[in-house]
Amino acid sequence: MSSAPDLNLDHVAHLARLTLTAEERAQFAQQLGDVLHHIEQLSKVDVTGIEPTAHAFPIVNVWAEDIPRPGLPVEAALRNAPAQRDHMVAVPKVVD
């Protein structure tokens, strides 16, 4: 159907750190266009003076006392790391 005029797919994919293939790009543009077109009807709802709901049930002040508990041993912490060295997670060079 329609592709959303406002959806800059490349920009949004970049924000999300995704590289899309040309095929994905074409497909997503059309599919997300349909979804966004459907979503447009939300603008019809009168939400004047309505508080947003961020949590299904509003409770406040959920915390714990500052009492340390044991964490993960370093071996367990790094067990799933794709690369490690000197007890640290290794990543390709970080360039700003």
Binding site: L15, R17, L18, A56, P92
Partner: protein, 493 residues
């Protein structure tokens, strides 16, 4: 004994108690059956037979020592592959986590272990629980035991199919927009989505944090009550966990005989509802009326906006929740990244499947600069209105009755358009947006022999009432005793 794999928790725990069977025998039976059957059902991503047997032996030893821990002790229970178990894979059916092994237990896992359950297998689902058919699993779709050419629903399709096929006594699924109830309906089992906050989400791979809930998938309402009793209750590791008294749900089934005032939301019975499903639900309505319940139409006027509200909130939260999958600390890492930034793009693009990417992009978009107010903030406000609709209805009625899914199980590959698939959730997502409890119970079959689910929606934290309401219906019907032909053949052969 031939039908051992189709017995309920209640029945099996009785047999274990009398010593008629041992947990080890029971577990071996499920292992053997799964080995022979699951190539066709693909309800499991993986299972660790040795580990399950060791748990079963430990259960038998407890029982012998007079230290049995109750109805779940020794019962094989499967977990959707989004729930963490120490030392076991946790893949979320994603290539991203294909090799991930959890170093910790989810709270529900710890509680099931405490109850003595034999944790059995990692159940297939849509990737990161995003989908309604389990076709989005990176490891291949699961099949519906009632018709192997059809989907089991999703995203907890493996959890539903495993129960339906007799590969587990009970399972846990997770439900963000219907992911427990819809596959339960499509596979002819019971699926309960608890009130948001009743069951801890700690250790559940997050899809949409404000909507996700873990819940049981079982053969019967009574089994769901037993499972819920084991996993519900406040958890200090989940800030959204609610402090409430947990009743003995199983005992409460008999203490709450009704009658109830039941509302039929008129927006749930309109266009798009399969006529056979509509007829089956009408039969259920007639049943409740016959029980002396007052059944009346109610209105949830913002229902038409549920789908859009849901897809904005769920994808926004997901886009952020899934940012951690970057190939740095764990998960898929692209082999040819030239620097750290490149690592993100390549690892994520290789690791995520198309539906996950689509939702991450949609969620990123609705949160991005300039669109937040129009999409996300507006959706949160509409969410308030949707929730109010339900609470207003509850001024007049005790529970709501609807179909679970507008359609029965569809063919694998039949729905390729994302929007068409999203529409499968139209009767279930309002419940997640409002944070309410809801259950799907089998309520008949189509002429083609496909299961139909009835959804009952309860009031916040009143799961005991909801289960009792469903239990009354279930006891008067024998839907839960039916077996898929394939499974019956498989068990005799």
């Amino acid at each position: 004994m031939s039908e051992l794999v189709f017995q309920t928790i209640t029945e099996l725990s009785g047999r274990l108690a009398t010593g008629e069977i041992s947990s080890a025998e029971l577990t071996r039976t499920f292992i053997a059956r799964t080995k022979s059957l699951d190539q066709r059902v693909h309800a499991f991503n993986s299972f660790d037979a040795g580990d399950a047997l060791a748990q079963a032996v430990a259960s038998d030893e407890r029982r012998a020592a007079g230290q049995s821990r109750g109805p779940l002790d020794g019962i094989p229970v499967g977990l959707k592959d989004v729930i963490a178990v120490t030392g076991q894979p946790l893949t979320a059916s994603s290539r991203m986590l294909a090799n991930f092994v959890s170093p910790y237990d989810a709270t529900v896992t710890a509680r099931l272990k405490q109850a003595g359950a034999v944790l059995w297998g990692r159940l297939n689902c849509d990737e990161f629980a995003m989908g309604s058919s389990t076709e989005n699993s990176a490891f291949g779709p699961a099949a519906n035991p009632w018709d192997l050419a059809r989907v089991p629903g999703g995203s907890s399709g493996g959890s539903a199919a495993a129960v339906a096929a007799g590969e587990a006594v009970a399972t846990l699924g997770s439900d963000t927009g219907g992911s427990i109830r819809q596959p339960a309906a499509l596979c002819g089992v019971v699926g309960l989505k608890p009130t948001y906050g009743l069951v801890s989400r700690y250790g559940l791979v997050a899809f949409a944090s404000s909507l996700d809930q873990i819940g049981p998938m079982t053969r019967t309402v009574e089994d769901a009550a037993i499972m819920l009793g084991a996993i519900a209750g406040h958890d200090e590791n989940d800030s959204t966990s609610y402090r409430s008294q947990i009743p003995d749900y199983r005992a409460e089934l008999k203490r709450r005989p009704g009658p109830w005032r039941i509302g039929l939301p008129r927006e749930y019975f309109g266009e798009g509802l399969d006529p056979e499903i509509g007829a089956a639900v009408e039969q259920a309505v007639a049943f409740y009326r016959a029980q002396g319940c007052e059944v009346k139409p109610v209105s949830l006027p913002h229902t038409p906006y549920c789908l859009d509200t849901y897809y904005i909130i769920a994808t926004a939260e997901a886009s952020s929740n899934l940012a951690r999958f970057d190939g740095v600390r764990y998960g898929h890492r692209s082999k040819d990244a030239k620097d750290a930034v490149d690592l993100y793009f390549k690892s994520r693009s290789e690791g995520f499947g198309p539906e996950v990417k689509r939702r991450i992009i949609l969620g990123t978009y609705v949160l991005s600069s300039g669109y937040y107010d129009a999409f996300y903030l507006r959706a949160q406000k509409v969410r308030t209105l949707i929730r109010r609709d339900f609470l207003k209805a509850y001024e007049e009625v005790d529970a709501l009755l609807t179909p679970t899914s507008p359609v029965p199980a569809f063919k694998l590959g039949e729905k390729s358009d994302p929007l068409a698939l999203y529409l499968c959730d139209i009767y279930t997502i309002g419940v997640n947006l409002a944070g309410l409890p809801a259950i799907s119970v089998p309520c008949g079959f189509t002429r083609a022999g496909l299961p139909i689910g009835l959804q009952l929606i309860g009031q916040p934290f009143q799961e005991a009432d909801l289960l009792a309401l469903a239990h009354v219906y279930e006891r008067a019907h024998d839907w839960c005793r039916r077996r898929p032909a394939f499974a019956a053949v498989a068990s005799s052969g």
